[in-house]
Assembly symmetry: C4
Homo-oligomer: 254 residues x 4
């Protein structure tokens, strides 16, 4: 196998789809959001990306049928908006691999006509977020793109996130910009301890405004309720009312 192999599954006619990246990361916010788009709009699988940078692994689905781990591009028509959504279960294994793999992802997006890229992710706050006030933080390569997003409610804060943006999301922005993409990261605030469907919803609400589509959130809301039940049970077990579960317990849930 080559280091990266791209398998063409379908070749839909596209004009200028917006590239949306949602690989695993903090709170799985980006992944949840991207997968929700694919499911709600019944996206078409267009590319599978296999790479030696992913773990040597098959994932097992229904009836023990397994497939080699890979990332997937789906073509999604969201009302009028055309999206090219990247999802998967892994990031790359090495620094160099991150650069190579993101380069390959941008090649695919470019070849299908994308000129605009959104990397979706989460930004950890270190504490549970109260009252459903999930801010969406942004990072861009140029101030012009930033102004448009700020109008849609995206927050831009000096030097935040403090540690920069790491992984494929960071490179979709950094390498994408160098290749001429109008690129941005959108990051839902999240505790960092939990898989966070509410943060994913906040992220998608922002994206709706920016790209002008509308998506149903019932499924994400169901998943958010499940998460809350689990957190509630742990709090009960601690014999406490509002006591926050410990980090260890929360990680367990995640």
């Amino acid at each position: 196998m080559d280091d990266i192999e791209i398998e063409t599954v379908a070749e839909p006619e596209t004009t200028e789809p917006v590239f949306i990246e949602g690989l695993p990361g903090v709170g799985h916010v980006g992944k949840l959001a991207a997968e929700h788009l694919v499911e709600e709009f019944d996206g078409t699988l267009v590319r599978r990306v296999y790479t030696t940078e992913f773990p040597p692994q098959v994932t097992v689905g229904d009836d023990g049928v397994a497939e080699l781990t890979h990332a997937e591009f789906h073509y999604v028509e969201a009302d009028g908006a055309e999206l090219l959504v990247l999802t998967g279960d892994h990031q790359a294994a090495s620094n160099e691999g991150h650069y190579e793999l993101t380069g390959a992802f941008l090649d695919v997006a470019e070849s299908m006509g994308a000129r605009q890229a959104f990397a979706l992710g989460g930004v950890p706050t270190g504490e549970l977020i109260e009252d459903d006030e999930y801010d969406v933080l942004g990072a861009v390569a140029d101030t012009e793109t930033g102004d448009e997003l700020a109008e849609a409610g995206v927050e831009f804060r000096e030097d935040e996130p403090a540690g920069g943006i790491v992984g494929v999301s960071g490179l979709v922005l950094g390498l994408g910009d160098r290749r001429g993409f109008e690129a941005a990261c959108l990051m839902g605030e999240t505790s960092g301890y939990l898989v966070d469907p509410k943060s994913a919803q906040a992220l998608l609400e922002t994206l709706q405004t920016v790209l002008d589509f509308e998506v149903d959130f019932a499924d994400l809301e169901d998943r958010a309720e499940e998460m809350e039940e689990v957190v509630g049970k742990i709090q009960e077990m601690q014999g406490g009312g509002g006591g926050m579960p410990s980090e260890d317990e929360l990680r367990y849930i995640g």
Copy 2:
């Protein structure tokens, strides 16, 4: 030395041997099973595979005679069934190495006429298995192969093993399928704490039914008894009857 070097030791006439992989893994189930086939049917060493992905190491045998660590293919005639059995002491050292090495293993199998591949391994249950009820779990690339194996008693369960199948076994299935092999993983249930000859026996009993051969299990039964004595002694030392040895003790045994 090249990254992978394959040394031809013998070139038997083969028609369409079944490729059986049994490298080290959970409970050494796959390795025990594969080595048992080579020993019982007096297999012929046909290939040595050296690779820079293995540790820089010689293994020392009788009288201090050492050899460079490598994996081995043996050609095995098991009653009427022709097998090409891969054994060794190591998996690869890196993600990329796993892909390259499994590719090389499949090259060898293909060049000797194999079209069907079984990756043997263990699946950890986290607890000692009672009453010798060792289920054999399966994973396949297509449902047809699955149906045949299910008839032989292999269990197929949705999303199990939960973490997927990792390492050379996973790739024999995942890469093998992509290259046209009819590939399956067979995994003996095992605690995950012990070298488990009983699980290896259960695995081979299933394989017997699938491939229609019969093998003597006396040696595996002896090894199983030895393991039981060791576990028994530890339980005694704990002053307990049925008390399960702690994880640390069990690892020590493994």
Copy 3:
């Protein structure tokens, strides 16, 4: 992206600038010193160096504007002295990467006419340094260069630093010498626990003497005062007078 990409931003006329390296390391002494030169003398950005050896990361600055992480060469006219100053946020990720990246840095320096190289860094003493007696330790490839530096007050001690000089600084000396640079490491003594602007100042005072320029230290002195306030507060919280903060606290500050 190639493993290393060098982007030319400006091409000033240079005669024989002195190459000054100040990447992150012990106490960030080299980085603070190099950045101070660029700021005080209003250096011109001449090269950006991108590499897959750096983390897959964008750094976020004002208003959420991000850029792909990279190292920078600035051309600095310091009174009469011409300097080519290398700064950045990262070292390489692997042994091999350190060698390749330092080779590329030396290529740039050579192409701009540099024949002399100073790698700036810190040497950890393990204890807070009292009374502002910050020695500057030197290492050179030949004794002649050492004699000149010793006249400027640089200390040379047998077998110090004991563990050798590791990272880009070590290789600027080691590889630089092999390529014909007159190369030296200058290392400010520092506790090793704190970002240390005072050690950076001591380093620059020595460099001033060697290269015959004069720089204003007000900014470094301000940063040193800030650091002292933080250390003071921690000591207060410990209810102690002269009690040294614990290693953990100091690391937190760093």
Copy 4:
């Protein structure tokens, strides 16, 4: 710099020197023994080997004069015996690097006429060795070489060392044999906790018999006494007579 660079320092006339490898390892036994040969017989430096597999590091010697870390071959005339002795401060950084580097070492040895190779090292026993009874363990690629060594007092034990022989020493034997060297590992028994000059002496006494030369041991005996003093002091501090120092203390010494 290339991955491996070999610098020719001298080109003495050799007939068929014996290749002796003594890089760092258990108890530094091999390194001590090899360095002792170079010093006592006033060896001639013939090759420097630089490689990106070594740490990115310069080592600092007298007066702060530093040099890029490397391995060295010395040509040694020991009475009538011609030796080509490899010493250095590091092993390789990766599995693949070990294979490549050992291959390069064997290239050098071959090019200077060597046909016989001894890899020197230590084998850990886990306990301090009493009464100066330091056995020397051997491993060989063929039983013939083993017989000769056994006559010189080398012990050969089935499956020992249990974990095989890892690192450059293992590969000098494993790769050397595959290239036609008559190769052996000689391993001095040592606790594994201490730099062990006594074990190095035992190793050299055996090598003397095999290769028919005689070396003065005064220096190694002095170093052994220094080690004993240190161990003695620790035992005193523990307020004990014959109490063995704890593993942590011993490591500290090493």
